[in-house]
């Protein structure tokens, strides 16, 4: 791993990202929202978020935005992750450990198959 991170490196990364975008013609964008209120953090939401970011980096997934939100109001289900793909309705997952986060990324985000056992019943 290179030890010096300069803005020149970042400029190069940016050029490459823009090139990739032209080729790919962006499919549906994916939005992931992680609940990061006090209960979420206490339940391990940071590790869940970290796993999601590691997965994006590892599998080199484009067009994913990751956001944090405060307390969603379902403390016993924390950590909570919401998945919004394109125009589809929001899917809210509960008890998302890093392991479950990886399942959601692999099955729902990449292959479009929901991880049913962790969906919070409406």
């Amino acid at each position: 791993m290179p030890t010096v991170k300069s803005l020149e490196d970042l400029k190069r990364i940016r050029e490459e990202a823009l090139k990739k975008r032209e080729i790919k013609n962006a499919p549906g964008t994916v939005q992931l929202v992680v609940g990061m209120g006090t209960p979420g953090i206490a339940a391990g939401a940071r590790e869940t978020l970290k796993e999601i970011l590691d997965f994006i980096e590892e599998k080199r997934l484009p067009n994913i935005t990751v956001r944090q939100t405060g307390n969603i109001g379902m403390d016993s289900w924390e950590p909570i992750v919401q998945v919004i793909i394109g125009e589809e309705p929001v899917v809210t997952y509960g008890k998302v450990t890093p392991y479950v986060a990886r399942q959601i990324m692999e099955q729902h985000v990449v292959s479009g198959k929901k991880v049913t056992q962790n969906i919070i019943p409406a």
């Binding site: 991170k5 990202a17 990751v66």
Partner: protein, 199 residues
Amino acid sequence: MREIALHLLDLAENSVSANAKKIVITICEDYRADLLTASIEDNGKGMSPELVKKVTDPFVTSRTTRKVGLGIPLLKEAAEESNGRMVITSTLGAGTKVEVTFQHSHIDRMPLGDLPATFLSLVIAHPGVHWVFHYSVQPPGDAEKMDFEFDDQPIKDTLGDVPLTDPDVLAYVRGMLEEGIKSTQFVEDKQLFDFKRRR
């Protein structure tokens, strides 16, 4: 919560909900003075003196009017348990600063925890906020003070419309934070440290 880094993540969330546009997190480990100081300063909407008094008391804040929950009382208690304290200064309309100190060597002081993970989640998940992180360490004896500063503005200016969640950008920012903090940290016993990390 088991780490100071997690508490900082929690407090930063308060600053974000107070509509802060710039948030500065400063952590200083001073082995000479036996002090660990962490502070978070924002330019959000601030609090009235009455509210400042209330936020540290978990039983006074009522759910409908509250701006903060259990986060602040929990951290205050953690600081006081290890011979430290919490000071909140706030000006309505100008911003808030929360500072906590701990006796560095106190047996009950919780570990600093995973600072890179905390910083990375904040930078990535709140791209609308200008984040600045300072981490400095004054080792014991004659060793020189080590400093690490991270400011996300130059990165965002360079990126333009390329998102922070682009895989390569993510790797860049993560590497920057991890390497910067690792090279600033003071390790008392290198072998013991590596042993703990492997477990």
